[in-house]
Symmetry: C2
Subunit: 240 residues, 2 copies
């Protein structure tokens, strides 16, 4: 008999919130103010592309754990410079302000209602690489009804390192199979499944824009495959 | 000019919830079932009395950090044995169940409404020695509307060790004076103040029962002294 699921852990960037439109929205006036002739979505994509390599420095042990706000800020400098702008002419305060745009991302249209339904039956928490303050600011602005803020900063490691999933399950005090990882990314679910967690894939076909080519479908034997968080709530037996 | 307060951190046992009545309520049927002729409140008081010495083992460095659920469970064994009961005749499952009574404490009558008012203006989070799962279970059962679960388990140290306050302020990314510790215990506030935090004393004159002799009034120069969380919300300018 399958163990009863007690808690749901959520990837956030891409799964619960739309990072690309949210970042581009704040990048656009920044580019204009600094006379940079760059498409805001290209800027957002380049910024996001530096995310995985920056975390890999920590995952590999070459660098001590630092929170994502710091990695985002370092990567922002790199993107600005790579686009030929003179970073010394931009005030640190303006760069700090743009960096905090990751705290102000909007949820996908189904996210709030889906989470509220799931919260009635399960413990719900982010298991994001975003740091605690980032997740708190995002949740307060967007009314994401988390029961707790878990994730990289709590366990001092970045997904998909196995200790992120294992230590979080230990904190929750459940068996791994009583915890379900919810993500729009097959890689995240594969890592969680290896640690014994249940898995739910949520399709987010425009996370990377209209031409998205990755994570358009389930690529593993996930326990659930859902079109959105409302669909997942229905599959998990949550009332409307 | 005083810095603006951005976040409120709450002591929980005694400040937000009434641990003594909550524990005694579940101790009573346990005592009856095991034919122990002991007053349930005396049992609760003895259990709680072992709390500080158990944490001191961790604070002193003599023992690695372990979460409060484990300390509570060890202390429960000690209390049962000290009262002359044969612990080998009680099932571990029954002791585990009683141990989890700390997850099911009721808030003081003003707590929920006060927290909801404060949450509109500030980030609110527990800074409790209780572990994350304990705080999550308590919050879900009692509808405590925390923005995040912070505290001992996140920073792997127990109050009043200074690193608990310092590391939590660092996680929040605020200046210490932008964060206010809220507690019914002068000792907690004294430790927070030494770390540069603002302080709010909430009087809980019956935390230890009708004959309470400690923490009946402010014993330091705290920034706020309040009769309950509603009063604190009013003093901090929160609308009703």
């Amino acid at each position: 008999m399958a163990a009863e699921i007690k808690a749901l852990l959520f990837d956030v960037f891409g799964t619960v919130v739309d990072w690309r439109n949210g970042v581009a929205r704040e990048v656009e006036p920044f580019l204009r103010h600094n006379a940079m002739d760059v498409d805001a979505f290209d800027f957002a994509d380049e910024w996001r592309a530096l995310y995985a390599p920056a975390m890999e420095e920590v995952r590999s042990g070459r660098r001590q754990f630092v929170r994502l706000d710091i990695l985002h800020r370092e990567n922002l400098d790199r993107v600005v410079m790579s686009l030929g702008a003179d970073i010394d002419k931009i005030s640190p305060a303006e760069l700090d302000e743009l960096n905090s745009c990751w705290h102000r991302l909007d949820p996908w249209p189904d996210s709030i209602d889906g989470l509220l339904r799931l919260k009635r039956e399960f413990i719900i928490a982010p298991l994001s690489n975003g740091n605690i303050r980032l997740m708190v600011d995002m949740a307060k602005r967007a009314a994401l009804p988390w029961d707790a803020i878990l994730g990289a900063e709590v366990v001092h490691a970045y997904k998909p390192s196995p200790e992120v999933y294992g230590k979080t399950v230990d904190i929750l005090g459940f068996l791994p199979e009583e915890v379900c990882m919810v993500a729009a990314h097959n890689g995240d679910l594969a890592a969680a499944q290896l640690c014994g967690l249940r898995t739910a894939f949520v399709v987010r076909p425009t996370e990377h824009g209209a031409a998205q080519k990755t994570d358009l479908q389930a690529e593993g034997l996930w326990d659930f495959v859902a079109n959105d968080l409302g669909d997942l709530a229905t599959q998990l037996g949550c009332s409307v």
